[in-house]
């Protein structure tokens, strides 16, 4: 026996704001109060978001090169990526493996989730022109070097990889570029930001995305690191909003990771 349930209404702005607030609260709870309790809240939020996405029904396929016209509807499944980030980052790393392989372990299921959600919301990276490359993108990528030095000197981020084995460091750099720089920028700047900008307006969308990026750094337990991340993420966000491509900022983010995790700790 089955019954056709009526579709839920398109979520209002306050519903999306409440989700963002709840995810931020879960993140702060995980970092500063109790990791298990915070993760349990993340798990509940993931279930709520998945069921809300189910209740909203299938998303219409947008015309080529355009986004779905109802950003609030798209944001419900996209926001489900954020609890997954924290879930994987706390469960996947194991003592027996090196910190570099943690990025691979966390990144593989997370990248799978990103691909699945992108297909689910009919998001085409080619249509969204996020892979565009130009000299400007190269200059954006180069900002990773000074930002990496500032981040290392000011915050001494963990974990650092101590090794002078060149092939290991080269493979590590590839892992960090893809599973740190590209993956985080895909989630925050490519998937989350355009729909937040569409819903809240450009400036607020960029700032909210940057704030979420900063909140997800709260695991460092350093308000200064969070402030630095917010400023850098807002800059990245604005560049992606104006240029559309994430290549420059993804490379810059990856280079920051390479500098702070692989290069500077070994000098």
């Amino acid at each position: 026996m089955s019954t056709v349930l009526p579709r839920a209404r398109i979520p209002r702005v306050w519903v999306i704001s409440a989700y963002l607030g709840a995810i931020a609260t879960a993140e702060v709870l995980t970092a500063y109060v109790n990791a298990e309790a915070g993760l349990a809240v993340h798990a509940v939020l993931l279930l709520v978001l998945l069921n809300h996405a189910m209740a909203l029904g299938p998303l219409p396929i947008p015309p080529a090169g355009r986004m779905v016209s109802e950003p609030a509807r798209v944001l419900v499944p996209v926001l489900a990526l954020l609890p997954l980030v924290r879930l994987f980052s706390l469960t996947m790393p194991t003592r027996s493996l090196s910190p570099l392989s943690w990025y691979l372990l966390i990144g593989a299921p997370l990248l799978t989730a990103v691909v699945l959600i992108a297909r689910y919301i009919h998001y085409s990276p080619v249509d969204a022109r996020i892979w565009g490359w130009s000299l400007q993108q190269g200059l954006m990528a180069a900002t990773g070097i000074p930002l990496g030095i500032i981040a290392y000197v000011a915050f001494h981020p963990v974990p650092a990889v101590k090794s002078h084995d060149i092939p290991y460091l080269i493979i590590g750099a590839g892992i960090v570029l893809v599973f740190l720089g590209l993956l985080e920028e895909l989630i925050f700047r490519a998937l989350l930001q355009p729909y937040l900008c569409s819903l809240f307006g450009a400036t607020r969308g960029v700032l909210i995305t940057a704030a979420m990026s900063a909140v997800f750094i709260s695991g460092s337990r350093s308000p200064l690191t969070m402030l630095f991340t917010f400023v850098v993420a807002a800059g990245y966000g604005w560049l992606v909003y104006t240029k559309r491509s994430i290549m420059g900022v993804a490379l810059s983010h990856g280079i920051i990771g390479i500098m702070t995790i692989l290069i500077l700790p070994n000098l």
Binding site: S2, V4, T30, L84, R95, P109, A113, P159, E184, S220
Partner: protein, 79 residues
């Protein structure tokens, strides 16, 4: 400057035992709940079952990948 691996992650590793932590328990319970919901929807013969399953699979497939890795890692530590 990464949300994936931080001091929080290191703390989680430091406090973990070969039998797992509360964090692993939360993750395992979540996998079971999503799997149960998926099967209940199928048993209920929901008309939009394909769409509902696809929605849950967005999280379920990555969660199952996580589950396999976590179980394998703990088994490797025990053996």
């Amino acid at each position: 400057m990464t949300s994936l691996v931080s001091a929080l992650t290191l703390d989680a590793i430091r406090t973990s035992t070969s039998l797992g932590t509360g964090i692993d328990a939360v993750a395992a319970i979540l996998v079971v709940i999503v799997l149960m919901e998926r099967e209940l929807l199928r048993a209920y013969e929901s008309p939009s079952w394909t769409f509902q399953a696809r929605t849950l699979d967005n999280a379920l497939l990555p969660l199952l990948m996580m589950f396999v890795v976590v179980v394998t890692a703990h088994l490797a530590e025990l053996l």
